[in-house]
């Protein structure tokens, strides 16, 4: 009987905690990207993409400006402007506005990778940012 309760608790709580980490906007975006051909989003792949250095516009990675710790402030490497933390865990405004997320993916993928990101890359980035606090 005890085990039953435990299992029920576990089963109901796992989806709940995921739902808390991923806002409605994130869920909708993941659906959009799936429609555009993305397979299941992969946090680990997102993490690798985040760390990777691209050379199209000079050496740049996501971490160049946003750092490796998404719970902390970043700094624009070219203009020195402070950037608020990316992690929704400390900055609840992040990943709540679908339009804004798409705008920044477009802008920053071009800035960093020198091209727009694929739907798969965006999915991976999204779950990584949504779930990660630190590297």
């Amino acid at each position: 009987m005890k085990n039953h309760i435990l299992i029920t608790l576990l089963l109901t709580n796992i989806p709940l905690s995921t739902a808390q980490a991923e806002s409605t906007a994130v869920k909708n975006l993941l659906q959009d990207y799936a429609m555009q051909g993305a397979a299941t989003a992969d946090t680990e792949q997102g993490r690798q993409l985040w760390k990777k250095t691209y050379n199209k516009n000079g050496e740049r990675s996501c971490a160049s400006c946003h750092t490796n710790d998404l719970t902390r402030n970043g700094k624009h490497i070219k203009t020195n402007k402070d950037i608020e933390p990316m992690s929704p865990l400390v900055n609840p405004e992040r990943l709540t506005d679908r339009k804004k997320v798409n705008k920044w993916f477009k802008r920053n993928c071009k800035w960093t990778l020198g091209r727009e990101c694929t739907a798969q890359e965006k999915s991976n980035f999204l779950v990584f940012i949504a779930q990660s606090s630190k590297f």
């Binding site: 516009n57 624009h76 070219k78 203009t79 020195n80 402007k81 705008k103 477009k106 802008r107 071009k110 800035w111």
Partner: protein
Amino acid sequence: MKNTLAISAVVFTFGFVMLPVVWGDDDFRWGEMEEYKHRTNNVSEVTNPVYKEECGSCHMAYPPGLLPARSWNKVMLELENHFGDNAELDAETHPPITDYLLNNSADKSDYRRSKKFNRSINLDDVPVRISETPYFKHEHDEIPSRYVIANPKVNSFSQCDVCHAKAEQGSFNEHNVSIPGYGHWDD
């Protein structure tokens, strides 16, 4: 009867004596405030929320009164290569930002320092860097390179607000200048 008299007296006093005084005073102060603002505020403050959001996320939202309309127009037409980077805007945000910049540009502003910026620029020139306008150069020519270019906390002249604490409020007054690592600047 006494009450009616008292009420009448109050109504009379407010209606015919106080109100004109308040209004008159108000009018006078508004006029004075505007003039005061133009005297002390060097350029108009950055107020447009779309401009602040779209342009001010990556760099300081430069007050439009620092460049003439023809310069802003050029900047807005070349966003695909914005000082070496892509800063494209979508069809929804490009027009209102362009309007804001053109309508508040240095050649349309009656703020004191905007006029100085505008007057310094040759009519045939279309500078896209504020730091390359003659007035800017003149105002910064006495600053040794170690204070700005060679100062790791400053790096360049492009981030006004690093030294001018009230830059986005349109104030470039010398009294508000503090250079990181060197402190107050007075020439």
